[in-house]
Structure formats: structure tokens, C-alpha cells
Symmetry: C2
Subunit: 248 residues, 2 copies
């Protein structure tokens, strides 16, 4: 995120994140669903391979300085180690209390129970380590996109504090959700991410006419569904929760 | 890799890996070069953040079952923990002695000293954890592509054992390198990966005519250079080393 917060700079970051999400899903789709990786009785320690992997990876990434920025929100924030390299003092552009806003529990749930079966093939090829490493990249990209909502909310609030203050003071979530919803923009986002999924998951060949654009590595409509059903609604939840803390 | 080894199935895997490499480079290019992440005096333990991160990540991935397949070759193979989930007995299609073939030292070197400065912007934005996590994904994709060379060599050998046996017996590396080189194929690969880089790193917009295809997130020619200078030559080194063990 740039030093000066504008709605345009936030929008650029959101659009860039779309590419990351599409790439990450395409990479996870190299492997089938691989159910044993999500079975919490598999390792014998009560954790699934996926949960064990994400917990350990977050701990490692925290050690080397991740989770200092408002958009990088850990899935397992308890007992994360402190970073041991000297970290740059990143002056946050956000209201400090907002650090606590996280919808990662909801993301974790929809990702594994609803989204993953939609874009992976059924089956088990034994590649659990590669699968959960890819899951982690997907989760991080989706979570980052959704928690950018904090910047969206701050930029919108700064642009028109009067519009939001009344609704914030009366804790009127419905009114806030209404103020934050722009149907035409959301429709355009859904179309754009579907187009990106089509472009990025096609099988590219050198023959201009033969580029078999009907065979996609992921179904492009799954990505617009992901945005429609989860990414955009949860981003607005983050925005509302952020705003409710904004005047506290 | 499928159960039956054919040159066609190997080629499909190589082509699919091109997409992974391009995606991984685009993702790393979100951040500038970030020199302190590669400075071995930075953490105080003699390791750079990058090396510390890769060592710890490989250890974690080994625990959950990675590095069981011939194309997944660790950068730091010493003292890797044994996997603790039950792993599927993956019957290797390769000659067993070939497990020792690795050019990861060369990959590590060219990636950090030559490739990384070519596709990242100069500068330091403090995002070291995200940068080295992306480096690890790049390194894994490039290494996997290059070590697929073991399958290429096995398929080519099986197709025409007579052609290779004399050169293998006399340990004639030049002759083997010659047998394995197909200039027209290599030129096509370079063109295809450059096209993929163009397609996948463009800024996608909904306006058909306005899609600003001149602004790429990475310079497409860097990817063909990567293939020309490192990926294809090192793949052939892997093939030669594999074949030299093939009759032992």
C-alpha cells in the first residue's frame, strides 16, 4: 500500500490482488481435492495436515517479519513468535484499533468446505504437501484481498466523514452496508475476475488459431462465484467492522 | 507424473510447469529487489532471511510428505526430517540411482545473483517475508521444471536405447548433449514462454480495446532469457547426469 491513501490507490491494489487470487487457484488445481490432507484424524495430533502446515508456516513467516501490515492477517494469531529481523517502522494509514478486525475464520471455513471442491477434481493423488502449500497461498491471497477492506473503509470515510458518522454512532450496520454497496461496481468486478480466469487458465500454444481456449485449468465462473458469494460480502463485513471502530 | 512414462506425457508436464514459473515470477515482482533479505549478516546467525526461510520451509514440507518424488528436489537436503503422515508408495518410473542428481546449487546461484535483479524493481519496501516466500515458490517451480529432465532422459532412453548406450558407456558427455539438443524445439519453447509471460502479466480490463497490453508486470523477454540461459541448459545437464547413471 502506498504512503498516501486514496480510493484510487486502494482500488489498484485490489485489482492487482485479483491476479494473485486467480494464479493461486490455478496452481492449487494442479492437484485433486486430496481429502486426507483435511482429515484431522490423519496425523494423530488432532490437526489436519492443512492446519498443521498453515500454523507452522505462519509461525515461520512471523519470525521473518510478516504480519506487520493491516492486510496481512494470520489465521492462527495466538502465540505467533515475534519477528527477529529488524522491521521497518511501517506507519499505518489506518485507525489503530482496526488491527483486531479479522474475518479469517469465515474465510478458512468457506475455502475448505465450499470453494476447494468447486475448483479441484475429485480424487487423491497423494500430493498432500504440495496441495496444502498451495492452499496456504490461496488463503493468504484471498485473506489479503478481503482485509484490504480496512483501507477501502478508511478512504471512503475520509472522503465523506459526514455520510458515515451518523450510521457509525448509531451502530447501524444495515445503513453502513448500504452506503458501502455499489451494485454496478460489483458486477464489473465479477466480470473482470472471470475474464482474468479465462485468460490466465487457458492452454497457450504458439499457433494463433489453435489456442484451445475452451480448455481451462479452472472454471472461470468459479472465480466470479467466489467474488460474488464470499470475497465482496466479506470485504464489506471488514469495512463495516472497521467503521464501527473508527469513532471509538 | 502419470503412471506410464511417455515423451508426450512428460512434455505436457513441462508445458504445464511453464505456467507455474511465469505465475511465480509475476508474484515475486510485486515487491522490489529488497536486498536486506539476501544479506547473510542481517539476522546475526550467518544465514540470510531467504536461506533461513527456505531451510525452515523445506523442513516443514518434508514433515508433511514432500520430497518423495524425483522432480521435487530440496535445496538443503541434509538433515531433512522424515515425513510423519503415511505416504503413498509412489512407484518411481525412474532408475533408482538417479535420485542423487541435483543441480539446485546452480539454480540457487543464478536465481539470486542474476535472475532476480532482472525482473524486480530496484528498491527496498521492507516486505522481506513476502519476498522470500515468493522466492521459495519461484525456486521450487524452476527446480521442478529442470529436474523433470530425469523423466525426459528416461523416456528418450527407453525410446532408443541403442542410440544412447554407446555414448553412456564411453561417458561421452558432448555426444549425449548433442543427442539431447533439438534447436527448433528449444526456439519454440522460448517463444511460447514469452507469449505466456505477455498474456499472464498484462493488465486486464473489461474494455476490449483498452486492454493496456503494453504494461506488463514482468518483462516477457526475461522469461525467454531464463529458459535460454538457464532452464533448458540445466535440464540437459540433468538429462546427461541421469543417463550416465542409467547403465551403472
Amino acid at each position: 500500500m502506498a504512503n498516501k491513501l486514496t480510493l484510487d490507490s486502494v482500488r489498484d491494489a485490489l485489482i492487482r490482488e485479483e491476479d494473485s487470487i486467480v494464479f493461486s487457484l490455478i496452481e492449487r488445481a494442479r492437484f485433486p481435492y486430496n481429502a486426507p490432507a483435511y482429515d484431522s484424524s490423519f496425523l494423530g495430533n488432532g490437526l489436519s495436515i492443512a492446519e498443521f502446515y498453515v500454523r507452522e508456516s505462519e509461525s515461520l513467516q512471523a519470525k521473518v517479519g510478516r504480519y506487520q501490515k493491516p492486510e496481512d492477517v494470520p489465521f492462527f494469531p495466538k502465540d505467533l513468535p515475534r519477528p527477529f529481523p529488524p522491521t521497518k517502522d511501517s506507519q499505518s494509514l489506518l485507525y489503530p484499533a482496526s488491527a483486531s478486525v479479522s474475518v479469517n475464520e469465515a474465510i478458512w471455513k468457506f475455502y475448505f468446505t465450499e470453494l476447494l471442491p468447486l475448483f479441484t477434481e475429485k480424487g487423491d493423488d497423494g500430493n498432500y504437501a504440495s496441495s496444502v502449500a498451495s492452499d496456504f497461498v490461496c488463503l493468504q491471497a484471498i485473506s489479503r484481498r478481503i482485509h484490504y477492506g480496512k483501507y477501502v473503509a478508511e478512504a471512503k470515510f475520509t472522503d465523506a466523514p459526514q455520510d458515515y458518522s451518523t450510521a457509525i454512532s448509531s451502530e447501524d450496520r444495515d445503513r453502513l452496508m448500504n452506503l458501502l454497496t455499489f451494485v454496478a461496481v460489483e458486477e464489473a468486478v465479477k466480470k473482470r475476475v472471470e475474464k482474468k480466469a479465462r485468460l490466465f487458465s487457458q492452454n497457450v500454444t504458439l499457433d494463433e488459431n489453435d489456442s484451445d481456449q475452451t480448455k481451462y485449468k479452472i472454471n472461470p465462473s468459479v472465480v466470479s462465484h467466489l467474488y460474488d458469494k464470499w470475497v465482496m460480502p466479506l470485504t464489506k463485513v471488514v469495512e463495516v467492522e472497521y467503521l464501527l471502530l473508527r469513532l471509538s
